[in-house]
């Protein structure tokens, strides 16, 4: 009855649980009841188990490998070494960064924990026993763990590379040098800085850390020798790319390979690359004819699969006396470990680091990144961020603070004075990006007001006085950050991985009774795609999100896509979903026109139906149209209601946010307490506020970990010191503060629904917010900069060196 009234329309819209609805995550019923299906839940008849013999040394020549005792152990089926893989040309494999990497140690080892031999046995217990029985003799070589030393050293780490030949990113100037990558106008930048009234310079180190997902990496390979088909289950953030790579490496035709990513227990970039374990499980299955499972343990995950960060960033920033930034210069020495296995789009060896002008209108800038090999594990993945964006955001947000000190200006005011103005969007940055949209001043002012910024500054000044009078041993720090991300890689004109353009895809099949199945080229690792992609489509096609099944991760059924990382799922696959939905709607309009005996142009879309313009009582719902598409012969219209869209985004998206952290610091113990954390995110159109809030809480907690203690550390001999969760900091609820979330909404002008992606913003913005709070607490006592992580002893050391211990 009240279908035609606005109230009726809103009621129908509500029933769709579409865009903007705080819909409960449909995945959680199984995850919270232990009903997820992860790699280690896959058990096949006759399945064997593989386990690695790993190098105890960081740099050594292998003089002999004797597997005879292992092979005599009952239950051991095979022990693979590089010599066994050589005839297949699989002892090395290409990396995503244009380098190559040993699958199994070929003559030498280059980092502690490197894979040397692969034991295959009837179960994991026998395999573990056999690992102990493989005898390997090493001749130790000098170890280099410092990238600056590496670029000066006579020690050649990569003997397989011709020192004179260029690498895949241009000339190499030293045998341990990987690439030099530059962007921006060097001469103009140097001139601008040299002629400026104020210059601030600082070395900003973003330490090595690790994504450490709860589920470690693993795979199950099953080669069916009868039909020639290989099925590969794995912890893959990009299953389709894995299929293509596996086909190229193995020579098995791509249609004979099926890659399946089941439930994945967190990825955060750790599961983007291809690891020796995947390759060895495939080879072992081909060799033995049995399915072979490989699953790493926590220590293996932390010591061998991809790390993140390890960027030494030398920043120079200049300004006028009244705080107008005039130029930014940054040179990075990037420690890539033993192999360049960064997961970046091919043309960007330093990812999107050149987003490092951040939220600021900086007229001229230049960045250069030198990659170096060291005797550390390979990686350099984007740990809950778009490629090297966290490093860039940390660098600029620290440099702004240092510049504020140099200028004697409040850091909030310095930011506001230099923000790109709303009327400047779309904005061309000095380093070549086109920022699609933003309204930084509005977000910033909202954040400052929410925390009573001026009141906090007064309190801080009083605290300093009380400290100086000996009345307290606690300092107060106010950590400010305004970050701008670049996510949603990306346009095929400049973004590819191993030659595959970074589009993504969505396929929709509407069932006769009006429900649907949707498949995408992405793969959720906890992001909640099954919940949120259904919401995008509910609003596009008028079918309740509860009636839409979302499926990802099986390359035999899902359309090709580049996977989930770099906050690209919503910007790219989410756009593909909307576009595919619009194709469905276009066909539905033709069907509705036929059913209602009107011209298509006489119909208008109304939430879940097409209605005749001016006669809203004459309509066909999407469910009615779906049924008609299967049971009526409509002239000129094919039966069925399906659509597929491959979406090549015209630009990246640029989420931004304003974060403020209020922290108490005990100068005697180095302990901290986060009193308040305010996080304002602008991710454009908001698909599901509850999922966004969850993403922000999770990302902030990872940022807390990184800023306040989490690191991958090595001693001088290249021994990893943080390979267990005793020493590698993973916050529990106990260490996690309460967060206040807020938002502004500036839709992306080029995205079909205006969404920008949010999963990584809190990590990108959170790290500088926590770190700046620590620095700000000590700023009144003369601190300019100190390196993360800000764990107890490092904070204590800052206080000690500032003379605060009397």
């Amino acid at each position: 009855m009240n279908d035609m009234t606005p109230e009726g329309r809103e009621e129908r819209r509500g029933k769709l649980k579409g865009l903007g609805h705080a819909r409960r995550r449909v995945e959680d019923a199984r995850f919270t009841q232990g009903k997820g299906n992860y790699i280690d839940d896959i058990n096949l008849s006759g399945m064997l188990f593989g386990d690695f013999v790993r190098s105890p040394h960081a740099h050594a020549r292998i003089t002999s490998i004797d597997a005879s005792a292992a092979l005599e152990l009952p239950g051991v089926v095979a022990v693979l070494t590089a010599d066994d893989l050589r005839p297949l040309d699989l002892h090395w494999m290409p990396t995503l960064a244009g380098d190559k990497q040993m699958v199994l140690a070929d003559g030498k080892v280059l980092f502690q924990g490197q894979e040397v031999a692969f034991v295959v046995a009837r179960d994991r217990y026998v395999a573990a026993d056999a690992v102990d029985l493989v005898e390997i003799e090493y001749e130790e070589l000098p170890v280099i763990t410092d990238p600056f030393e590496s670029l000066q050293s006579d020690v050649v780490l990569r003997e397989d590379l011709d020192p004179e030949a260029p690498g895949s990113h241009g000339p190499r100037r030293h045998h341990n040098h990987i690439f030099l990558w530059e962007e921006g106008d060097k001469a103009a930048t140097e001139q601008a800085i040299e002629s400026s009234e104020v210059v601030a310079e600082e070395m900003i180190y973003y330490h090595r850390t690790h994504p450490c997902p709860l589920e470690t990496c693993g795979s199950v390979a099953s080669m069916d020798k009868v039909n020639g088909k290989l099925t590969l289950w794995g912890t893959f953030q990009a299953p389709h790319v894995v299929r293509t790579v596996a086909s190229i490496l193995s020579g098995i035709e791509e249609h004979n390979i099926r890659v399946i990513s089941p439930d994945i227990g967190g990825g955060f970039g750790n599961k983007v690359g291809v690891y020796p374990g995947y390759v060895c499980s495939i080879v072992a299955s081909i060799v033995t004819g049995s399915p072979v499972k490989w699953v790493e343990d926590r220590m293996e995950n932390l010591m061998s699969t991809a790390f993140a960060r390890d960027y030494w960033m030398k920043g120079r920033i200049s300004a006028t006396k009244d705080g107008r930034i005039t130029g930014l210069h940054c040179h990075v020495t990037a420690d890539h470990g033993a192999f360049d296995a960064c997961a970046d789009p091919t043309k960007f060896p330093a990812g999107f680091f050149h987003i490092c002008t951040g939220s600021y209108d900086i007229p001229v800038a230049y960045v250069a990144v030198d990659g170096a090999y060291t005797n550390k594990a390979p990686g350099g993945v984007a740990y809950r961020c778009s490629f090297r964006v966290t490093e860039a955001a940390y660098m600029i947000e620290r440099m702004i603070e240092v510049l504020a000190i140099e200028l004697g200006m409040d850091a909030a005011e310095l930011r506001a004075r230099n923000f790109i103005r709303e009327d400047q969007f779309p904005y061309q940055s000095a380093l070549g990006w086109e920022y699609d949209s933003g309204d930084y001043h509005t977000a910033w002012n909202k954040a400052l007001e929410a925390v009573n910024y001026e009141g906090l500054r007064r309190e801080q000044a009083e605290r300093v006085e009380a400290f100086n009078r000996g009345e307290t041993r606690k300092l107060l720090g106010i950590g400010l950050t305004h970050f701008t991300e670049i996510v949603g890689a990306g346009p095929m004109k400049n973004c590819d991985i191993l030659g595959m353009g970074m589009f993504d895809s969505c396929e929709i099949r509407i069932h006769p009774t009006g429900s649907a199945i949707v498949r995408l080229g992405t793969i959720s690792q906890g992001q909640g795609h099954a919940t949120t992609f259904a919401q995008i489509l509910a609003s596009e096609i008028g079918i309740s999100s509860d009636s839409i099944t979302v499926e990802e991760g099986d390359t035999d059924t899902a359309p090709y896509g580049l996977g989930t990382y770099g906050s690209r799922s919503t910007p790219v696959a989410g756009a593909a979903a909307a576009m595919a939905g619009r194709k469905i709607r276009a066909k539905a309009q033709m069907i509705a026109a036929y059913l209602l005996e009107v011209h298509e142009d006489d119909l208008e879309w109304d939430v879940d139906r097409f209605a005749v313009k001016g006669a809203p009582e004459r309509f066909k719902t999407m469910a009615e149209i779906a049924f008609a598409s299967y049971n009526q012969a409509i002239p000129g219209v094919e039966p069925g209601l399906e659509a597929v869209s491959y979406y090549d985004p015209p630009n990246m998206t640029y989420p931004f946010g304003a974060y403020i952290c209020v922290m108490e610091i005990d100068v005697d113990t180095g302990e901290h307490e986060i009193r308040q954390f305010y996080a304002l995110d602008d991710c454009g159109t908001r698909i599901n506020p509850m999922v966004i809030e969850g993403q922000v809480h999770g990302g902030l907690t990872e940022a807390l970990a990184i800023a306040m203690g989490q690191e991958i550390a090595y001693d001088d001999l290249g021994n990893i010191k943080t390979a267990t969760l005793m020493d590698f900091f993973m916050p529990t609820s106990w260490e996690t503060p309460t967060y206040t979330t807020a938002f502004t909404e500036t839709p992306s002008p080029h995205h079909p629904i205006g969404a920008k992606g949010v999963g990584e913003s809190p990590n990108v913005g959170g790290v500088p917010a926590f770190s700046n709070a620590v620095h700000d607490a000590f700023r009144p006592f003369g601190l300019r900069h100190s390196h993360m992580p800000h764990d107890h002893w490092r904070i204590w050391k800052v206080a000690h060196e500032l003379g605060l211990h009397g």
Binding site: D297, D791, W796
Partner: protein
């Protein structure tokens, strides 16, 4: 993270456990809560042929308080120590300390006996028991004996216990007066960067008795008689605390590790002890 193969025994009595351990010698180890031993086995840093689980030995699960004496069986868990109301009244410092051990899941399994017998310098109970002047009951093939907690620890993982002996019970007197257990750690589940156990009795506004023990600042717990002596007879004023901290500092020997360098640990030890003294004095 998979241990090598072992035989698993679950004897019903201490005598039977001792028999198995005596027969198997070095190849056998007793397991209590398992939170130290099992990780070592998974890392293959401990290779055992025989694991002797004490969880079926009922007599080791008893906790009694009579005539001012607390008797705790070795298999009493940290969780049971925390939730025992009688113990909380008789010796409240035990609950305060046990609540700072690891996390609830560990405390459901972890036992006082395992915590004491392993000799890990990071464990909290050894220092606490030294502070309380507890005595440990040991049973072996030659019979039973008692040893003072303050005499039990020789070096990291080295104690007065012989290989074939089992630490079966802990006894100490109820403590009336002020108490505090102060612990700094990096996160839940971590061992102490520094921890201090302090007991103080007051009479007429002065410290009449005191006991001070420090944890994870040497390869054994450090019971500092000199630190306690520095407090006794004073009004627990700043000078007395300074003297106690100085005395304690002379007896600890912290090592650099991922928790921080030696200088930091020494500073934290002093800060932690000052806080423990202040709290214990306020409660005395």
């Amino acid at each position: 993270m998979i241990p090598s193969a072992f035989e698993y025994h679950r004897p019903p009595s201490v005598a039977e456990a001792i028999r198995i351990v005596s027969e198997r010698g070095d190849d056998a180890r007793v397991i209590a809560g398992g939170h130290s031993l099992i990780p070592m086995m998974k890392l293959r840093m401990a290779h055992l042929e025989h694991l002797v689980d004490l969880q079926d030995v009922a007599e080791l699960r008893e906790l009694s308080i009579a005539d001012g004496i607390v008797r705790i069986g070795a298999m009493v868990t940290q969780h049971e120590l925390i939730t025992h109301e009688g113990l909380a009244q008789a010796v409240p410092i035990v609950r305060e300390a046990a609540l700072l051990i690891a996390d609830p899941q560990v405390r459901y399994m972890g036992t006082i006996g395992g915590n004491l017998a392993n000799g890990d310098p990071g464990n909290d109970m050894p220092g606490l028991m030294q502070c309380l002047d507890a005595r440990f009951g040991l049973e072996g093939p030659e019979g039973s004996r008692e040893v003072a907690a303050r005499d039990f620890y020789e070096a990291a993982y080295m104690t007065d216990r012989a290989d074939e002996e089992i630490l079966t019970r802990i006894t100490f007197a109820a403590s009336t007066g002020g108490y505090a257990y102060e612990k700094q750690k990096r996160k839940i589940g971590d061992y102490a960067t520094a921890a201090a156990a302090v007991l103080i009795n007051a009479q007429d506004g002065r410290v009449s008795r005191a006991s001070v023990a420090m944890t994870n600042l040497s390869d054994v717990p450090v019971w500092s008689e000199a630190a306690a002596d520095a407090l006794i007879g004073t009004a627990c004023d700043a000078a007395a605390c300074d003297a106690a901290v100085a005395a304690m500092s002379a007896e600890i020997d912290p090592q650099e590790d991922s928790r921080g360098p030696i200088e930091f640990k020494r500073h934290v030890a002093g800060t932690i002890l000052r806080r423990a003294i202040a709290r214990a004095w306020a409660r005395a």
